[in-house]
């Protein structure tokens, strides 16, 4: 479903504001920006899960912001926060199956997060924060 949505999103994927005023609103929206509600849900989840697992956000919070938006986008389109850092044959099937729904099995079992969302303290890219605000998310992704 999502891959079809991407193919049919005629408009430019990196210029959300002008597109929102045109037609094909739902198609464009699914491709371009996740809903605020889902972003907030995934933001809160990320903060809680980082605390719970003793992991930290990337020292470059832009990475964290993009992944949170990716999770929110899949939550909107698939009903589940499928990992945004993977390529899938069939996203709907994967979301239903669950292995790659965040927190994915590799993360739960081995604290392995290749999205660089949850980083163990020894990771070169790990920062020292377990929080991220909605403003931080918006600002670091406004140019996408």
């Amino acid at each position: 479903m999502t891959s079809q949505a991407s193919t049919f999103a005629v408009s430019v994927s990196s210029a959300p504001s002008p597109l929102r005023r045109r037609g094909n609103f739902s198609v464009v929206r699914a491709q371009v920006e996740p809903s605020d509600k889902s972003i907030e849900i995934m933001r809160k989840f990320s903060e809680q899960y980082a605390r719970k697992s003793g992991t930290y956000f990337c020292s470059d919070k832009g990475v964290t912001a993009v992944v949170i938006k990716g999770l929110a986008d899949h939550k909107d389109s698939l009903g589940a926060p499928l990992c945004p850092c993977r390529h899938y044959d069939d996203k709907a099937a994967e979301a239903a199956q669950g292995f790659w729904n965040c927190p994915c099995v590799p993360m739960r079992e081995r604290k392995e997060c290749h999205c660089m969302l949850f980083l163990t303290p020894d990771n070169d890219f790990a920062g020292n924060e377990q929080t991220i605000t909605l403003d931080e998310i918006k600002e670091s992704t406004e140019n996408m």
Binding site: S6, V12, M144
Partner: protein, 174 residues
């Protein structure tokens, strides 16, 4: 259709690229190697890098490079007609590490401009190419030599580490 061109030598394939679409690379005096432009009316977009907190060692001023005009009809065509090894970045829009790599690849393409051509493929727009090369984790990088995959690795890395990897790989078989 969305096309994105970054100021470096990277090509980002437009959405409807198939064998019947003709693409012309445009030259620009101040940008490096190949840029792609649709022959149909399509807005050209520059993807601006997300404003990330100032990272590393990225030099601000890099010397401009000559661009080349080329026409491709498919990804295979691009690979076959490249005179340099092709570095392909398989990415997705909402993949954090992939976006982290945007400025890294700009720097690498400037520093290695004679040695390699950088191409980015949006796996959501080109699922068939991604499936062909069995892409799973993102980002996945494949270095093509003589049109065939020569090296392959996953995950984000810094510009210095990436250059080290590319140079080591390309120097192995001489």
């Amino acid at each position: 259709m969305a096309i994105s061109i970054s100021p470096s030598s990277s090509l980002i394939l437009p959405a409807s690229w198939n064998s019947s679409t003709r693409l012309r690379a445009s030259s620009s005096s101040s940008s490096s190697s190949s840029q792609l432009q649709f022959s149909v009316r399509t807005p050209l977009l520059r993807i601006a890098t997300p404003r990330l907190p100032s990272s590393s060692s990225r030099p601000r001023f890099l010397p401009p490079v000559q661009a080349k005009k080329q026409t491709f009809s498919s990804f295979d065509d691009l690979l076959a007609n490249s005179d340099k090894p092709v570095f392909v970045d398989f990415y997705a829009t909402w993949c954090g590490p992939c976006q982290f790599m945007v400025p890294v690849l700009e720097e690498v393409s400037a520093r290695l401009q004679d040695q390699i051509q950088i191409v980015k493929i949006d796996t959501e727009k080109y699922p068939s190419i991604a499936n062909k090369y069995k892409i799973e984790a993102l980002p996945t990088f494949i270095i093509f030599k003589d049109g065939k995959p020569f090296d392959r690795f996953e995950g984000a890395l810094t510009a210095d580490k990436l250059i080290e990897r590319i140079e080591t790989t390309l120097n192995v078989k001489q």
